[in-house]
């Protein structure tokens, strides 16, 4: 989960920037990636990375753990890159112009002026996706990884009478896991809005 969260952030920013890049080839390429991964189901992607890729192209991601991490991050990275792109574009053009008037380079404009404002807008959405991602990890049991749901299922099959309790426990587990994420995003939003009211 942590690994895919980090990786998906990286992908989100790369692809988000790719979509607004000057170079049309990069733009087309990232656009294609995003549409493919948003347009197909995560379960199918999991199967692809785990079963089809090694078989078809000889690409072996090593363990099933990494197959899961890559699939989940590519999938969520695609969604989140749209958040990145949208937030960057929604910073007013006046900000970009003021930065140009101060003779900042393209890179400085992005780093000093645009991104700090765009990140503030991204945070609530990112929080959403993080929590969704956490829950999406339950799908990895389908490619043979053991997660909470998987363990719960095993336990249930040996103690059939406890089924409702087991599923209730799993729900609680997920909620407990999600809580820190919820707190984290609240904290990050607070931090980034320090002293800054909307103009």
């Amino acid at each position: 989960m942590l690994a895919s969260a980090v990786l998906s952030f990286v992908i989100a920013f790369l692809a988000g920037f790719g979509r607004i890049a000057k170079n049309p080839i990069i733009r087309k390429f990232t656009g294609f990636y995003i549409e493919v991964f948003r347009g197909t189901s995560l379960i199918v992607q999991l199967f692809w990375f785990y079963y089809a890729l090694p078989g078809l192209f000889g690409i072996d991601l090593g363990t099933d753990f990494w197959a899961a991490v890559v699939a989940i991050s590519m999938n969520y990275g695609a969604y989140m890159s749209e958040v990145v792109r949208g937030s960057i574009l929604s910073v007013s053009s006046g900000q970009r112009e003021a930065a140009t008037a101060l003779n900042m380079s393209r890179f400085q404009r992005m780093r000093l002026v645009i991104l700090p404002q765009a990140v503030r807008m991204m945070l609530p959405e990112f929080g959403n996706y993080l929590i969704q991602m956490l829950k999406a990890t339950s799908l990895v049991s389908l490619i043979g990884l053991t997660d909470i749901l998987y363990h719960g299922d095993i336990f249930r099959s040996t103690n059939l009478s406890l089924a409702p309790t087991v599923y209730l426990l799993i729900l609680v587990f997920y909620f407990i896991l999600a809580l820190p994420l919820i707190w984290l995003t609240r904290w990050a939003e607070k931090q980034s809005s320090k002293g800054v009211a909307t103009e």
Binding site: S92, E97, M104, V196
Partner: protein, 260 residues
Amino acid sequence: MAEPIVRYKDVHKSFGDVQVLKGIDLDIAPAEKIALIGPSGSGKTTIIRMLMTLEEPTSGVIEVDGRPLWHMEKEGELVPANEKHLREVRGDIGMVFQHFNLFPHMTILDNCMVAPVHVKGESKEEAKQRSIEMLEKVGLGDKLDNYPSQLSGGQKQRVAMARALVMRPKVMLFDEVTSALDPELVGEVLEVIRDIAQEGEMAMILVTHEMEFARDIADRVLFLDEGTIAEQGSPEEVLENSKSERLQSFLSRFRSSSPS
């Protein structure tokens, strides 16, 4: 006239099918103060936005201190400028915007400091000291740690001027800097511009609707109409003894509507 600091040579600008500027020729002397007046849509703002590199001319050449702004020389020919060339030349230009465009995520002091430190590579102490000096000059020495959202429009615009001045431009552009302000805040901003103008060494181009103010500080007034410089001369010539009917009717609209 001494070597001009800014020179427009037959500059045209179109947005799509709309021709906004139809051949602008203009020399601006160092330290000259110019007021651009004219009806909306006449291309006043476009003229200075091209000088700030926010808008690319469709044709023609703009020179800053003898160097072409939008073009660079390569093997004896003028080719479109790259980012590096633009940055080199536009370092001489500063601009204040109608809507201030302060950076909302930075304090007033950081707004002023960010460019000297990151663009010019000055030390933080040096930049801070000069930023504070500038902010004191525009009367905001007590607001250093405030954020833009905590200031009035007039105060924001004064910060924007300090921010531009810290970069020591040779030419300052003012794009209708009082148009977005409440009437009672216009005075404080004009006061600061007047101070800057009196110090002298910087050339200034003001796009403005404040005719009284233009008369006070401008060396030359340009009347823009339908994409060309229709009339120009000293404030007296243009504002009081205007030749064309269009300029007279343009000016009369101000006389009737403004109380001053």
